[in-house]
């Protein structure tokens, strides 16, 4: 019995602890456009602000290593702001604290002074929902395992694959 349960308990402990370790380094970057400025905030997955990190604004023509359109630092609350570029296009904001934590947000800026006005649009980093898919499939696999165990217990005499 112990031989069966020991690995299960060990694995469960590792599984429960890993998300805590991984999300400590997850960077959350949200950017708000519209009006005169591009502003936003950077924080870690546990909610603490990413303070004094370098924030850079680049357009689609600028490479990641070259000079940026604008460069700033997040304040103690993780906030930053840039003057809004005059022309529209695709932009990205990167935040990097220099010790391995980096976040990036891409967005498209439509510059139409009449409409943009005071309306603020918040852009979250675009991505296919990999995290949600992974979670859902994980739960499904768990259910499949439980069901398979249940099936095996109910019919111990039959061996089918």
């Amino acid at each position: 019995m112990t031989r069966v349960f020991a690995p299960i308990i060990l694995f469960t402990l590792i599984a429960l602890l890993s998300p805590g370790v991984a999300s400590a380094h997850g960077v959350r970057l949200s950017v708000t456009t519209g009006g005169e400025a591009i502003s936003g905030s950077a924080s870690f997955a546990d909610g603490s602000p990413m303070a004094e990190a370098v924030v850079e604004l680049r357009d689609s023509t600028q490479s990641a290593e070259g000079p940026a359109t604008a460069r700033s630092r997040t304040n103690s609350e993780g906030r930053f702001a840039f003057p809004s570029p005059r022309e529209g296009g695709e932009f990205r904001v990167t935040v990097d604290d220099g010790i391995g934590h980096r976040g990036e947000a891409r967005f498209t800026l439509l510059v139409d002074r009449v409409i943009a006005g005071d309306a603020a649009h918040t852009h979250r980093p675009e991505h296919p929902p990999w995290r949600e898919w992974l979670s859902g499939l994980g739960y499904l696999l768990g259910l499949v395992g439980i069901t398979a165990w249940w099936l095996a217990r109910r019919r111990p005499s039959s061996s089918q694959d």
Binding site: P129, E132, L137, V144
Partner: protein, 208 residues
């Protein structure tokens, strides 16, 4: 066709939840070591495709495939669709928790109907590609049309709209969904017929 929380009245919600629970119970009794992997696969597929929105014109559509799931899995479509909807509600805030029973019922009941109406076509030892394509398209049609009818009936019980108007409006919106669903279901079924024909006959023999 996901109905959102707060749209339906309490009696409708309660009745649909009872119906869904009955369907799920019937479905769970049919789980076997053979059907479990396929059921899990389709639950995963249903879960993921429901979150992939394909832009069409001004709006967007996503595959449903409830007809295909029902055709292949029979009553198992109930627990499969329920689990997938539950995960969508929890992880993507699609639909709602209170309305989970209603959404399960409106998607899974037509799936089971497609199973009983079309499974005869799958019993042949080697069904032709044409009959598989046809069955797939028909399964999708029954799945989408059934879901529209049941959803319209549920919305009608709120007393806010006439039934016929609801059916017409919802059908019009679902036509693009129906088209891609029929195409994909037909192709998937035909591919399964060539690659994994035993999947088509999974529900032919009852293990219990």
């Amino acid at each position: 066709m996901h109905l959102a929380d707060g749209v339906l009245g309490l009696p409708t919600l309660a009745l649909s939840s009872v119906g869904a629970a009955a369907g799920i119970a019937l479905g769970l009794r049919r789980v076997t070591p053979q059907t479990l992997p396929v059921a899990a696969l389709f639950a995963a597929v249903f879960f993921v495709i429901g979150t992939i929105h394909i832009p069409i014109g001004v709006g967007s559509v996503h595959l449903v495939l409830n007809g295909l799931i029902g055709l292949l899995l029979g009553w198992l479509a109930f627990p499969v669709i329920f689990v997938a909807l539950l995960l969508q509600a929890l992880l993507f805030s699609f639909g709602g928790i209170a309305v989970l029973g209603a959404n399960t019922l409106l998607l899974a009941a037509p799936a089971v109907l497609a199973h009983y109406l079309l499974r005869g076509l799958l019993q042949h030892s080697s069904p032709s590609a044409q009959s598989l394509l046809f069955s797939g398209a028909m399964a999708a049609t029954i799945g989408i049309a059934g879901a529209v009818l049941i959803a319209a009936a549920m919305l009608w019980t709120t007393g806010k709209n006439a039934l016929l108007g609801l059916i017409v409006l919802m059908s019009a919106a679902q036509i693009p969904v129906w088209l891609i669903d029929a195409a994909v279901s037909a192709l998937v079924l035909a591919s399964l017929g060539r690659a994994l024909p035993r999947v088509l006959r999974m529900t032919a023999t009852r293990a219990r």
